[in-house]
């Protein structure tokens, strides 16, 4: 029959699909040992976009910490409080919002929380990644060679509440136009309310220890140009930045750290990142 000529290949094609099936048996977890990464490799910045009324967010923060344990010394985490669930309410009015956080939410079209940015690199065209893809994205980024080496030193003048930063940037590869340097201020141990749905029925945690909270930017949300001309291979440049903590801020200087990044202002990608405590 003429139709038989067609039906047989069709059935073979269908049965091929039956082979496209992976069945995983326990144990489901990979053998996990903290991995040593070459210091010349890229460090990875995980921007965990969160909110104090976001009950799913503490679980995402735990995912970020798990990744940091996997690659100690090479993963830096920032908690960016943004989105509808980070907006203060009449009963819970501590304000975690920042201009930087709002700029990040606007630029990447944040629809909800938790979402994250891994070195602000798009994966299949999407910048915002859900927590279950952070480990995969970090692993991919961390194996790349670093384009820059960042050495940073910070000092704090308590009388004038001024933060002074000195960054030595060395190009490990040919630089390019439109590379920016950006310095963010983060604070650890901010004790405030957080909703944590994992703790049902006690989901309201009044004294949650918020870590690496993004507090502000030293030189604008996106930073300033690294240099007039692209850096040549092995060329170094020194950048100095200053920032005075405004009067009304309740930041505790000994809990502050600075996260400095070199970013590509055309593609948004973070090329290298480094972190230093403000007061040792």
């Amino acid at each position: 029959m003429k139709t038989l000529k067609y039906i047989i290949p069709a059935l073979i094609l269908a049965s091929m699909l039956f082979y496209s099936c992976d069945i995983i048996e326990a144990p489901y977890e990979e053998n996990f040992n903290p991995v040593e990464i070459d210091s010349a490799k890229k460090k990875v910045l995980i921007e965990d976009i969160t909110g104090f009324r976001c009950g799913n967010c503490p679980e995402a923060a735990a995912v970020a910490h798990e990744i940091a344990e996997l690659y100690p010394d090479n993963v830096i985490i920032i908690a960016v409080h943004a989105g509808a669930l980070a907006v203060p309410t009449p009963t819970r009015n501590y304000n975690f919002l920042t201009l930087v956080g709002q700029d990040i939410a606007k630029k990447f079209n944040l629809p909800a929380t938790p979402y994250g940015l891994i070195n602000r690199k798009a994966v299949e065209g999407q910048f915002l990644l859900s927590p279950s893809s952070w480990a995969t994205a970090t692993t991919a980024e961390i194996q790349k060679d670093a384009g820059y080496k960042l050495e940073i030193q910070a000092e704090y003048e308590s009388s004038s509440r001024t933060i002074n930063l000195e960054a030595n940037v060395k190009a490990l590869a040919m630089g390019a136009m439109n590379h920016f340097i950006s310095a963010y201020i983060i604070e650890d141990s901010v004790i405030q309310y957080q909703q944590d749905d994992r703790l049902y029925p006690n989901i309201h945690v009044e004294n949650y220890v918020h870590m690496h909270v993004l507090r502000g930017a030293m030189n604008g949300s996106w930073g300033t140009e690294l240099s007039d001309e692209p850096l040549m291979l092995n060329q170094s440049i020194k950048k100095n930045l200053s920032f005075t903590i405004p009067e009304n801020k309740d930041w505790v200087p000994k809990n502050l750290s600075l996260v400095v990044m070199v970013r590509n202002n055309d593609t948004e990608e973070i090329l290298q990142v480094e972190k230093v405590k403000l007061i040792k």
Binding site: D22, A26, Y28, E30, G55, L70, Q126, A135
Partner: protein
């Protein structure tokens, strides 16, 4: 650039079609449609309407199709500058969101580019567009439909699904076989009995580079279905099985998924009765294991609840729970004949509907597996809806519709991913819809709606939703073109006095031929809109809205 390229291809195609080639007729037909919805936003803290920097937001769509004999080419241009509030902000931008070339004959139907498709009820595969939800999971790839003999249709597809302005990470493959016994072998079955069989296979491939878990790169699902119908009854059954698929939405569990749908209906002289049931376990299947909310869905759980059309009955809509739900829906329709006591001069239509959806019986074994016996029913009620609809025509000029709804809505499951916050909401709604034809061209319609509702848990923060509501609407029609509407929704029973707000809104619509223009102004309540169990949150707004739709 992409827009220009597509236009060039379309024009070249039209330009060359006069050549004598196989399958080309005299000239083709060009058709399409256009839609734009735009709104202005004024900050209104009373109703919780946020400040919108852009002040005006809009969604626009243009579809263009050219058909000539067996060939068809088309595309859709979309513009969100910026997207309306409540639509995912990642839609921001503009471009060609959909484009395809199709060759369709009696035996072969080949599509290259974007397409929509459904296997059976959609339980295993459904790619569709629903604009009111901002939902579009079109597959971009290749689809071949093959009909070797009457009554047999085989479909194969391969591609990646749409995710805003990009594609999902996973590759989706599917095969489907539909057999219609009546058409295949004409004398086998009695004339009025129809038997149809079907089977499908769908699989997703996505790389595993996760350092923590061993994830399946190929996830396969299969399904089988049977449909028997005659003049007086109809019976449908569909079963689907999905192999391990740890993902963002199912807490990374390694259990397989299963779905069973059973539907039966009987119909006779003026009456119809249908019973629709399903049992679903772990059937959230996506084109990317890390996708969430309405992103990259591969399949669709047919809902067991009535899609309510009135403002207050649609206040608490049902959202499908593909990770686990068991439910049934029973519907009875009866047309009380004319010239009887209850039927009156013109007859009365009575519709009774009962829906109940519960959790499934599931016990956690360890971090990655759980035990859910097949067809086991849990004791948590997600949704229950009993409703009556009585439509009666009183005279040539006057008709009414009475709608009574009593529902239980588990707000934690529907709106908070199960995390406890609101408890269950019980609501009783009564609606009277009356239409009076004043003369040949003018008609007036009035809706009176009331909802009394109560919520389990204490109110943490004041909201604009709780309590009793009253809704009144007037619609004045001047046939054939004009519609004037004004309505007020009043939350008079809100627990918090300063939240007892009026939502006043008015609009004018003009219809001519295939074009509809509507302009309105006023306050819109924040809420949820669901179509087929898939939902979107709509933020409160206050402003002017404009909507235009036309086809050509």
């Amino acid at each position: 650039m992409k827009l220009i390229n597509t236009l060039v291809i379309v024009l070249l195609f039209i330009g060359t079609c006069n050549a004598t080639s196989q399958g080309f007729g005299d000239g083709g037909t060009l058709s399409g449609n256009f839609q734009i919805d735009a709104q202005t936003y004024n900050a209104d803290s009373v109703i919780g309407a946020p400040k919108v920097d852009e002040q005006i937001l809009s969604n626009a769509y243009l579809n263009l199709m050219y058909r000539n004999a067996d060939f068809e080419i088309g595309f859709r241009y979309e513009n969100y500058m910026n997207p309306l509030l409540g639509y995912d902000p990642r839609f921001q931008g503009q471009g060609i969101a959909y484009r395809y070339i199709r060759y369709n004959t009696e035996m072969l139907d080949i599509t290259a580019g974007d397409f929509y498709e459904q296997f059976g009820s959609g339980l295993i595969f459904r790619a569709y567009e629903e604009r009111s939800l901002g939902f579009d999971n079109a597959v971009d790839g290749v689809r071949v439909k093959f009909r070797p003999i009457e009554g047999v249709e085989f479909t194969g597809l391969l591609g990646k699904q749409r995710l805003f302005w990009n594609k999902g990470a996973g590759i989706v493959r599917g095969a489907n076989l539909n057999i219609d016994i009546n058409e295949m072998v004409e004398e086998l079955l009695p004339d009025d009995l129809s038997v149809r069989l079907g089977g499908s296979l769908v699989s997703r491939f996505q790389n595993d580079n996760d350092p923590f878990l061993r994830l399946p790169e190929n996830v396969l699902a299969y399904s089988g279905r049977l449909s028997v119908s005659s003049m007086s009854f109809m019976f449908d059954a569909e079963y689907s099985y999905k192999y391990n698929d740890p993902s963002s939405t199912n807490k990374l569990n390694y259990n397989p998924g299963q779905g069973l749908l059973l539907t039966g209906s009987v119909f006779g002289d003026g009456f119809g009765f249908s019973l629709n049931t399903h049992w679903i376990d772990n059937m959230d299947f996506r084109g990317d294991r890390t996708a969430r909310s309405n992103e990259l869905l591969i399949n669709f759980i047919p809902p067991l609840t009535k899609q309510h059309g009135y403002a207050l009955s649609a206040f608490y809509p049902y959202a499908s729970q593909p990770n686990g739900e068991a439910g049934l829906q029973a519907e009875f329709t009866y047309k009380i004949p004319r010239n009887t006591f209850l039927g009156g001069k013109y007859g009365t239509t009575l519709d009774v509907n009962f829906s109940l959806v519960n959790s499934i019986d599931s016990t956690r074994i360890d971090k990655y597996t759980y035990d859910a016996p097949f067809l086991g029913i849990g004791d948590r009620t997600f949704f229950r809806d009993i409703n009556f609809d009585i439509a009666h025509r009183w005279s040539e000029d006057f008709k009414t519709n009475l709608n009574i709804v009593s529902l239980i809505y588990d707000k934690d499951v529907m709106e908070n991913e199960g995390a406890p916050k609101y408890g269950k909401v019980s609501a009783n709604i009564i609606i009277l819809d009356m239409t009076y034809n004043m003369n040949e061209t003018n008609a007036i319609r009035m809706e009176l709606q009331h909802m009394s509702s109560s919520q389990d848990s204490a109110f943490f923060e004041p909201d604009n939703v709780n309590g009793d509501w009253f809704h009144v609407l007037f619609e004045y029609t001047v046939a054939p073109n004009w519609f004037f509407t004004v309505y007020d929704q009043y939350n008079y029973g809100n627990e918090f006095e300063d939240k007892r707000i009026h939502y006043l809104n008015g609009s004018v619509a003009y219809l001519t031929g295939a074009t509809r223009i509507q302009v309105g102004f006023g306050r819109q309540r924040g809420g949820i809109i669901c179509v087929g169990g898939v939902c979107r949150a709509v933020p409160a707004s206050n402003g002017l809205f404009l909507s235009l739709a036309t086809s050509f």
